[in-house]
């Protein structure tokens, strides 16, 4: 039976993981920041190949969208998160065994790994059984796990492990330390000394004070003194330890390969959903894009994911934007005041298409996107001193390369490519590039200071960054199709500070 995967449909071949590398446009689109955040804390899962490999078939995208949609259920996602946390412990315990020296120390950690594994698998099987699932991938996994937890092998493993652990946990012993001499014996209900001290001084207790307890680390080592004490405990209570030895002999291997694969692959979704959760909490919408075959892309209330991540962390507002191409419209030409969100807009369009091709939900209330065969970006770069060819020449060479490789199915994003040349040159070159883009019939975004480029034909959609009409010093970060005009100064300033009579009246709390 084929192992069910949550990333790739059973009908398609898995792309080889060792060839996946960071796409060249990651830096321009700030996707490197997003993916770095997604990978943070998940290193052992080796998720890079999954995030570096966009899909090219709508069916494969929908396969993942279905999984992600099912995982949107907070309860289920929380349960799966618990599962993966427990699996991480299982693996850590198992890796640790090789480094340990004392027999019953090793046996104890082995038992702990088994217990955690049983708990993890059983909870996952129950969670999937109870969940309202629609994704093909998760339905297949549910069936697999239901069979597994009912299997004779799994049931025996579970019962024996729990019985042994209960016996060991019931043991209580007392240690008397006098100088360098240690005696171990059974306890006789001696009172807790710290509790008595606390009772005496309780009357002075006020609020929180420093915690003077020295942190006790969960250590993977046992020194010879602890081992001698444990030997004494074994002598005082021999039976539970004999049962532990027998258990370990009966169950040398216990991990299931399908369980292990799910543990890794589901991280792809968890990482992303975890990443966007604070953004959603801040009121930002995400949606599952519809993959379209034509070029009428659109998005409502969309935003730059990398920027939003930073802004939300700093508790600052995020401005959303809309865009749409209709009929034979192909290119957004973005002009307007600087620092007004033009570059952010260009990045947003690129990010949306990439994230959609990963099969993930994208920023926005609604989105129709295409699956580009390639994404090309040209962002103005800090000049490299070692580069002997002029900057302009370099830009043109890179552009030529792009136009050689791009197809009508590509996405091309140009950001202030000719900003460092003369106005005449820039206008001429800009026109040429626009002509080529239009001829190519690919979807593109062109951020430029050349307003003339916005009027080059019906395929061109002019977008403008805007300022607050009442306060020209302030940006709105809204990118729209037209400009607005100003207002009278003093009252407009009062209005900006929400201090007109009616505004202020509404602000003072009763």
């Amino acid at each position: 039976m084929a192992s069910p995967s949550v990333l790739f449909p059973p009908s398609t071949a898995r792309p080889p993981e060792d060839q996946a590398a960071e796409p060249p446009y990651f830096g321009d689109l700030n996707l490197d920041q997003v993916v770095a955040a997604l990978l943070a804390g998940r290193k052992p899962y080796r998720l890079q190949p999954f995030f570096y490999t966009p899909l090219h078939e709508a069916a494969a995208v929908r396969y993942r969208q279905a999984v992600a949609r099912d995982l949107e259920n907070d309860t289920l996602r929380e349960q799966i998160h618990t599962f993966t946390t427990q699996m991480r412990q299982v693996n850590r315990y198992l890796r640790m065994l090789a480094d340990l020296d004392y027999h019953y120390h090793i046996a104890g950690w082995f038992l702990e790994a088994v217990l955690r594994y049983i708990e993890a698998v059983r909870a996952l099987a129950e969670a999937l059984a109870a969940a309202d699932l629609h994704a093909e991938a998760l339905l297949a996994l549910r069936t697999y796990l239901a069979d597994y937890v009912r299997s004779q092998a799994f049931l025996a493993l579970s019962e024996e492990a729990q019985a042994v652990r209960a016996e060991l946990a019931a043991i209580r012993y007392c240690i008397h330390i006098m100088g360098d001499t240690v005696r171990v014996r059974r306890c006789q209900d001696e009172p807790d000394h710290a509790a008595e001290v606390e009772r005496t001084f309780a009357k002075f207790r006020r609020g929180a004070v420093k915690d003077y307890r020295t942190p006790v680390y969960v250590r993977s080592g046992m020194n010879h003194v602890e081992a001698q004490i444990l030997d004494c405990v074994v002598k005082l209570y021999p039976e539970p330890f004999a049962h532990l030895d027998a258990f370990r002999e009966r169950h040398p291997e216990f991990l299931d390969p399908v369980v292990a694969a799910f543990d890794r692959e589901v991280q792809f979704y968890l990482a992303y959903l975890e990443f966007i959760a604070p953004l959603r909490e801040a009121g930002l919408p995400f949606c599952y894009p519809q993959i379209i075959a034509d070029k009428a892309i659109m998005a409502r209330e969309t935003f730059d994911l990398a920027l939003a991540h930073k802004l939300v962390a700093a508790d600052r507002p995020v401005v959303t934007n809309d865009f749409a191409l209709q009929g034979n419209e192909r290119i957004f030409v973005v002009t307007g005041p600087n620092q007004g969100g033009k570059t952010t807009f260009a990045r947003t369009v690129g990010q949306l298409h990439y994230l959609a091709a990963l099969g993930l939900p994208v920023p926005g209330r609604e989105a129709h996107l295409l699956l580009p065969d390639r994404i090309f970006t040209h962002f103005e770069r800090v000049e490299e001193v070692a580069n002997l060819r002029g900057k302009l020449e370099d830009e043109l060479l890179r552009l030529r390369e792009t136009f050689e490789q791009a197809t009508p199915q590509s996405l091309v994003i140009l950001n202030e490519v000719f900003a460092s040349t003369t106005f005449q040159d820039a206008l001429f070159l800009g026109r040429q590039v626009m002509e080529k883009l239009l001829a190519l019939d690919a979807v593109g975004v062109f951020v430029t200071f050349l307003a003339e480029l916005a009027a080059l034909g019906p395929q061109v959609v002019s977008m403008v960054s805007t300022v607050k009409p009442e306060n020209p010093a302030e940006r709105t970060y809204k990118i729209v199709r037209r400009r607005a005009d100003g207002l009278a100064y003093a009252l407009a300033l009062a209005e900006k500070h929400r201090l007109t009579h009616d505004q202020l009246l509404a602000r003072v709390r009763p």
Binding site: R186, Y212, L230
Partner: protein, 496 residues
């Protein structure tokens, strides 16, 4: 055990963040002079004075509670300063005898905490003795409760119980720990156990009847000794924490005592300084925030008096029932000084202090806010009006009904027509929201618009100018006059 000298039912929060408008209040009302007179160079007194003055009370009962405690202090300054010295002595002893919990191992923490506790217990005995001696002499609810609590909580039996603990925690009979097997069969839940009391040597009693197993660490095995020490540390972790926290709690109690008394000691200092200046002070009569009272006689700017080191002019005001007080008149005529005296008296009253006046009755404010013209902003002319509005915007975020806002030449960074219009919209909205407003302005159009309405809830005051042009720095009732007095000032300065 609670101090409760600032509040009848809770501790003072001495490290609480200062209220949002603290910086503006200090700058505009001359608070730093008051802090300094209360502190007499003592940083701690300074800090407490600042906290208490800026955290206004909004309850008449709380203010009366503090007024009564302060009256006790004014009647027994020596006893109060003696009590105040006890926590100071605790801090001094800690420093001089190197007492304190610097260790990071439970065994080290435990032994230093036991020493520290022993020192505190000595001081608590002294505090208790003062309570025994003075209990009848103090009249305020705050002090009577405080003394009664010390007598009830710190009796002789309690001191003996504490000293027994301090003795047993030296472990002359060894350490007895209980433990369980945690994950990996590692020892866990190490817990110090109190051995059962017995006349016979403890070791014998423990190990005689029960099967046991043991070993001794060889003398050269330093690693083994250390490992054993670690186990002991884990077992002593909780008890070390309990003792160290007990020491911290007593330390905290003494510090709180110091902090709460610091306000009253600072007030004693201030009363003495005011007496030196030959100026009056009085306990004010607060009325609830939803009333409108402001009747003062001899109200003066304490900050100015302290800064000059001399007496200053006081004013009589009758503004009962008024929501809006508009102050106009001669430049350099005492308008700002008057506005400061209003704000400072309001803050001192709401801290539970006496006020710089012969008498004052005023309603409480739910927050005092100042919006003063800022001279230093003149450099960036274009953004100045924006900046003024920005500050008002921020104040608006914190306003509630029955707040008090003191405006001083506000919204004047633009032409009079625009400034008057903005000021009028703002003041109208505030009055409709039941915010109380004092407004010093030279905008005739603005001031006159209120006078023209003949509203019963508005009072107009004017800086007095004598017929010969001299100023008395007195503020008297009077409607705005259409001219300002800058020309006078010019003549005076350029007289020759």
């Amino acid at each position: 055990m609670n101090v409760f000298l600032l509040y009848p039912d809770r501790d003072a929060e001495i490290d609480a963040p200062l209220p949002w408008q603290a910086e503006a209040l200090e700058q505009d009302l001359g608070l730093p002079q008051v802090y300094e007179a209360m502190a007499r160079g003592d940083k701690f007194l300074h800090g407490v004075a600042r906290q208490v003055l800026l955290h206004s009370l909004e309850d008449v009962g709380l203010i009366r509670y503090r007024q009564a405690v302060l009256q006790d202090c004014l009647a027994h300054p020596d006893v109060v300063r003696e009590i105040y010295h006890i926590p100071i002595e605790a801090q001094e002893k800690k420093r001089e005898q190197w007492l304190g919990i610097f260790s990071r191992s439970p065994q080290g923490i435990l032994s230093s905490a036991v020493d520290l506790l022993a020192m505190f217990v000595g001081l608590l005995r002294r505090l208790k003795a003062i309570a025994d001696a003075q209990q009848g002499a103090f009249a305020s609810e705050g002090f009577r409760r405080f003394f009664a609590m010390l007598q009830a909580e710190l009796d002789e039996a309690y001191f003996e119980e504490v000293e027994t603990h301090l003795r047993t925690l030296k472990f002359r009979q060894g350490v007895l720990l209980s433990a369980e097997l945690g994950p990996g069969n590692e020892g866990s839940h190490y817990t110090l156990r109190k051995p059962r009391r017995t006349p016979r040597p403890i070791l014998k009693q423990i190990f005689d009847r029960t099967p046991s197993c043991g070993f001794t660490i060889p003398p050269r095995d330093t690693y083994g000794s250390k490992a054993l020490g670690d186990i002991k540390d884990r077992g002593l972790n909780e008890v070390a924490n309990a003792v160290a926290q007990a020491a911290d709690h007593i330390d905290g109690f003494l510090k709180l005592l110091q902090a709460e008394l610091a306000f009253y000691v600072g007030s004693l200092n201030l009363a003495e300084r005011i007496a030196e200046l030959g100026m009056p002070w009085a306990f004010p009569t607060p009325t609830p925030a939803n009333t409108r009272r402001f009747t003062a006689s001899g109200l003066y700017d304490l900050g100015l008096a302290l800064a000059k080191g001399a007496g200053v002019v006081g004013n009589d005001v009758q503004a009962d029932g008024k929501d809006l007080v508009v102050i106009t008149g001669a430049n350099q005529g005492g308008k700002t000084t008057f506005l400061r005296s209003v704000g400072l008296a309001q803050l001192m009253m709401q801290a539970g202090m006496f006020v710089p006046a012969r008498a004052l009755e005023a309603n409480l404010a739910r927050g005092v806010f100042t919006h003063f013209k800022r001279e230093e902003d003149a450099a960036m002319e274009s953004g100045k009006f924006d900046e003024e509005l920005g500050r008002m915007d921020a104040i608006a975020d914190h306003l509630r009904a029955h707040s008090l806002v003191l405006f001083n030449e506000s919204f004047a960074a633009t032409n009079e027509r625009e400034g008057s219009e903005i000021a009028r919209q703002i003041v109208d909205a505030l009055l409709e929201s039941r915010v109380k407003v004092f407004f010093v302005t030279h905008f005739y159009a603005f001031a006159h618009s209120y006078a023209a309405r003949q509203a019963a809830d508005a009072l107009f005051l004017r800086a007095e100018r004598l017929p010969d042009g001299r100023r008395t720095f007195k503020i008297k009732p009077g409607e705005p006059l259409p001219t300002s007095f800058g020309v006078d000032l010019y003549r005076q300065i350029f007289a020759d």
